[in-house]
């Protein structure tokens, strides 16, 4: 069975795993630690598709109504128990 790669869908924004170097710079830019970042679950379809693991930071670039293009960053975490 071939599975749909959600990242190729036009409605799904671009997800990229950031390098350790980039993450370090990001944290310095905003003067934060990792737990101040917005989160995304490890089993999110887009996370699974781009192969990120808990602890990775993902850069998401999406189209924005107000700004044209908007960048945000999310820390991959395990989905907690119910």
């Amino acid at each position: 069975m071939t599975r749909l790669n959600v990242l190729l869908h036009e409605m799904v924004p671009d997800h990229q795993i950031m390098t350790d170097e980039d993450v370090k710079n990001l944290l310095v830019t905003f003067d934060i630690t990792e737990d101040h970042l917005p989160k995304i679950y490890h089993d999110d379809p887009a996370v699974k598709a781009c192969g990120a693991k808990p602890g990775n930071v993902i850069m998401i670039v999406r189209k924005s109504q107000t700004a044209g293009e908007a960048t945000s960053y999310r820390l991959v975490v395990r989905r907690p128990k119910k």
Binding site: F30, D31, I32, D35, H36, L37, P38, S64, Q65, T66, A67, A70, T71, S72, Y73, R78, P80, K81, K82
Partner: protein, 889 residues
């Protein structure tokens, strides 16, 4: 100040019997509180070791006085265990997933593997739920057959035992599990199995959910109050505890005396009932315990739950001083930045003023006047004087008073509470406070009467009207608060709504009608008329007359409006009254005078209406704010409202029943249109009934017919509207209001004068009612226009009984819709606000929570304040181009 600490984790557990006994200072055994002499019974519910509530006495346990002693817990030993209602779901789950004999989890090793925890964090395991275990299976450890367990509200559990009888048939029998049985089973569950279920056995052994000992809260939690007649009245919790102890004692006596099983069971159930209602008096399937008066008791859960509970009522709820509330009424003579407040309120409320060397004498004057200000003309005084040592002196007016003595006492460093006077800044608020414009600051104007007065133009942001609405007022007490009120919260700072980046304050109905009457088409006024119009606006000198005829100077209506505009406004747009003439004549001559051209602050052509001045519209106001700022915008609104009201007074504006009358010819035309339409509908029904109707693609013939009929009747209604509006012109006030956008629409006028039209429920003709028909007045299966809610009459001509009924059906749908929508959107709003209330934009442009967590990396993704944007766009290109080119682009 200590630095804030981060909360690592919160652990929830259950009080163990041992913990309850350890923290208890007294074993309570007597159901009584106080004896006849008013002394508490030792070992009773008011035992002095449980804490003190009487002033003067000392606590027997900690030795502290009332107020210092926090109170101490006692306990009651229950004769038999009872279930804690709060944990019935947990108990049910545990009984169902564990073995009835050996207590192990009903999963074998391999099945457990699948749920196993992560190595580093034992609590991140996927917890096992009831659904993961098959019903009535056999225990993989001891091989015991499991049975179905039913839970009956509120607290009983029944096991359905199935046994193979000697005759080879399966017998089903119900066996009630007593609390003792349940406790026994829960005790057997091993700690390791509990961890798999997401329970930490260190802090929450499951058998602790079945109570064997009950904590008795300190008396400070349930103080008795002494009524006016000297009688003591006990707290609801104490009443409930009395019940529990009484039954518990009787239970013990019967048990010791070896009473029959039936009586024991009854008492056990009664004890369970009392403990249940003590914990929660609103459990489903359990009649609430009541007071002698019939009022349900407020027990533990009721103290916490709901709007007036501990969380929403006591902890999140804040109440304040220096606030006032009364009915509001309109006063168009006030500026939009003002609020009129009754003298009585101004006398009662105050602002603290610091006494300094410079103002010492002024302060003395205020104190000498004191709290007495009988009329508006009297100067304001002061109500209190605060000494630096924290003492507060109340000023008393009159001969016997202390005003003169206190006036001599004051020196720099003291503070006095000065009464409110004209110009003081206050916060004004109307609930529900749905957006930030629901609280704005106004400058006060002390007035006679008992209501708050406000300019009707500020009603839209508050969503206020004057049908009995009340509003709240708060007086800022510090310099910082007053500065913020002036700079951030002032009315003029909130003219532009952050919701859509346009003005939310503007002209209302009368203002729009008035300014329309003034500016539509070219009109000429004499000097006295011109001055009458502009009497209350800020005007320094008369402009050059627009024309001179026979030596008499005349000024145009466009000149009158131009008087209130700043001199650098250049705008070009279509007004609300534009009828989209084809082709649009634009800069030349529009027959409706609907193309607005403002060049250098002069209205050259066009009509000023809703598009130009209306609340939520206000194109000109928007431009003035961008060009000259909020202060000028405020002045413009004040001038505009005054000018428009003068204009509507000059022309007069009223409506009567005969304004809906049409001519003989029109009535004949309307009759013809409706007759034709009804005949047409009848024809179509005929075709349908003969089976000749060609269905539309994807529709049944019935659906096709319905659509055709709806369309036909809708067209007929519109045609009657056209006929009516051909007869009614600008001499009709309803037409003026509809065209200018002040209120109502041409449809409303058509319904008053022409034909009300089809009544609908969920967009379809009315079909429900009796068998095959809507009302007994019609034949079964009648598909005609009148049988399904077509109202031929107008509001003027009046509805016949069946029409009236259909109209009521159609009208009801609208009412239900609004009722449902408001309640739903209100709840949605509440949840949104709870989620977003502490977020702020940090100095680096990120949106963060109080914990510093980032919510948005750039505020709104573009970092733009919507209230400072041009209707959502960062730059108003059209506006800038118009200002430079001074012509339409």
């Amino acid at each position: 100040m200590t630095s804030p600490k981060r909360i690592g984790k919160i652990e929830f557990g259950i009080l163990s019997p041992k913990a309850i006994r350890d923290m208890s200072v007294c074993k309570v055994i007597w159901p009584d509180t106080y004896d006849d002499d008013g002394f508490p019974y030792p070992k009773g519910l008011m035992d002095p070791s449980l804490g003190v509530i009487d002033p003067g006495l000392r606590c027997k346990t900690c030795g502290q006085k009332q107020g210092d002693c926090p109170g101490h817990f006692g306990h009651i030993d229950l004769a038999k265990p009872v279930i804690h209602v709060g944990y019935t779901r947990l108990i049910r789950k545990l009984l169902r997933v564990t073995c009835r004999d050996c207590g192990r989890l009903l999963l074998d090793k391999e099945e457990i593997e699948r749920f196993s925890a992560l190595e580093d964090d034992p609590y991140s395991a996927e917890t096992i739920g009831e659904k993961d275990i098959k019903k009535e299976r056999i225990c993989p450890y001891c091989g015991d057959q499991q049975f179905k367990i039913n839970f009956e509200k509120p607290t009983s559990f029944v096991e359905i035992v199935t046994e193979m009888g000697e005759d080879g048939k399966v017998h089903k029998s119900e066996r009630k599990l007593t609390s003792a049985d349940i406790r026994e089973r829960l005790e057997k569950i091993p700690d390791d199995d509990l961890r798999l279920l997401g329970i930490d056995p260190e802090v929450a052994r499951p058998e602790w959910t079945v109570l064997t000992v009950l904590p008795v809260p300190p008396v400070t939690v349930r103080p008795s109050i002494i009524l006016e007649n000297g009688q003591r009245s006990e707290d609801d919790l104490t009443h409930k505890l009395v019940d529990i102890i009484r039954i518990n004692q009787r239970f013990k006596e019967n048990q010791d005396a070896g009473a029959p099983q039936l009586i024991i069971e009854d008492l056990w159930e009664l004890l369970q009932y009392h403990v249940t209602t003590y914990l929660d008096n609103e459990v489903a399937g359990c009649p609430p315990a009541r007071h002698r008066s019939g009022r349900p008791l407020k027990t533990l859960s009721q103290r916490l739950k709901g709007k007036d509970g501990r969380f929403r009522g006591s902890l999140s709820g804040k109440r304040v001083n220096f606030s006032a509330r009364t009915v509001i009424s309109p006063d168009p003579n006030l500026s939009i930045g003002e609020v009129g407040i009754p003298l009585a309120i101004a006398n009662e409320m105050s602002v603290p003023v610091r006494v300094t060397k410079q103002n010492l004498e002024d302060m003395r004057v205020l104190i000498r006047i004191g709290p007495h200000r009988p009329t508006l003309r009297d100067p304001c005084g002061a109500n209190y004087v605060n000494r630096p040592d924290g003492r507060r002196i109340r000023l008393i007016a009159g001969e016997e008073g202390n005003c003169d003595t206190v006036a001599e006492m004051i020196e720099p460093g003291w503070k006095i509470d000065r009464q409110l006077r004209d110009g003081d800044i206050v916060l004004f608020n109307r609930q529900p406070s749905l957006h930030r414009m629901s609280i704005m600051s106004h400058h006060i104007k002390v007035m006679n009467g008992r209501t708050f007065r406000l300019n009707p133009a500020v009603c839209p942001p508050y969503n206020a009207d004057f049908d009995g609405d009340e509003m709240n007022l708060h007086v800022p007490q510090t310099e910082e608060a007053r500065a913020e009120a002036e700079l951030l919260v002032a009315v003029q700072e909130n003219i532009l709504s952050p919701r859509f980046g346009g003005p939310i304050i503007g002209g209302l109905h009368d203002h729009i009608s008035g300014i329309f009457l003034l500016t539509n088409q070219l009109k000429w006024y004499t000097k006295s008329e011109f001055l009458y119009l502009l009497k209350y606006t800020e005007m320094e000198h008369l402009p050059e007359p627009g024309k001179v005829e026979n030596g008499i100077p005349y000024w145009s209506n466009k000149q009158a409006f131009s008087m209130i505009l700043p001199k650098d406004v250049n705008m070009f747009y279509k007004a609300t009254c534009c009828r989209n003439c084809d082709p649009c004549t634009k800069n030349t001559f529009c027959p409706n005078d609907a193309f607005v051209r403002i060049v250098d602050g002069e209205l050259i052509s066009g009509t000023i209406d809703k598009k130009s001045v209306g609340a939520m519209d206000g194109a000109i106001l928007n431009r003035i704010i961008r060009l000259h700022g909020t202060q000028r915008a405020k002045e413009y609104i004040d001038d505009l409202t005054k000018l428009s009201i003068r204009a509507i007074m000059l022309y007069g504006f009223s409506y009567g029943i005969n304004d809906t009358d049409l001519g003989k010819e029109e009535y004949k035309q309307i009759r013809d249109v409706l007759d034709t339409a009804e005949r047409d509908v009848a024809n179509r029904i005929n075709i349908f009934e003969q089976g000749h109707l060609e269905p539309m693609p994807g529709r049944t013939p019935e659906e096709t017919l319905e659509m055709q009929v709806m369309k036909e009747l809708g067209k007929a209604r519109d045609r009657t509207g056209d006929i009516a509006s051909r007869h009614l012109g600008f001499e009709n006030s309803a037409v003026v209001m509809a065209v200018s956008g002040a209120r109502g629409s041409m449809l409303n006028i058509a319904q008053m004068a022409g034909c009300i039209g089809q009544q609908a429920v969920r967009g379809e003709r009315i079909v429900r009612g009796y068998e095959d028909r809507t009302l007994p007045h019609f034949k079964r299966g009648d598909k005609g226009a009148d049988a399904h809610g077509f109202v031929r009459n107008s509001y003027k001509s009046g509805l016949n009984p069946t029409e009236f009924f259909f109209h009521a059906i159609g009208g009801r749908e609208g009412l239900v819709d609004t009722a449902v929508r408001t309640s739903q959107s209100g709840y949605l709003q509440r949840r949104m606000i709870n989620a977003l209330q502490d977020l702020k934009v940090a100095y680096d442009g990120t949106v963060r929570s109080t914990g510093g967590k980032i919510i948005q990396f750039v505020y709104g993704e573009d970092g733009t304040d919507p209230a400072k944007s041009a209707s959502g766009l960062p730059v108003d290109v059209k506006g800038i181009a118009e200002s430079v080119l001074k012509e339409e682009i």
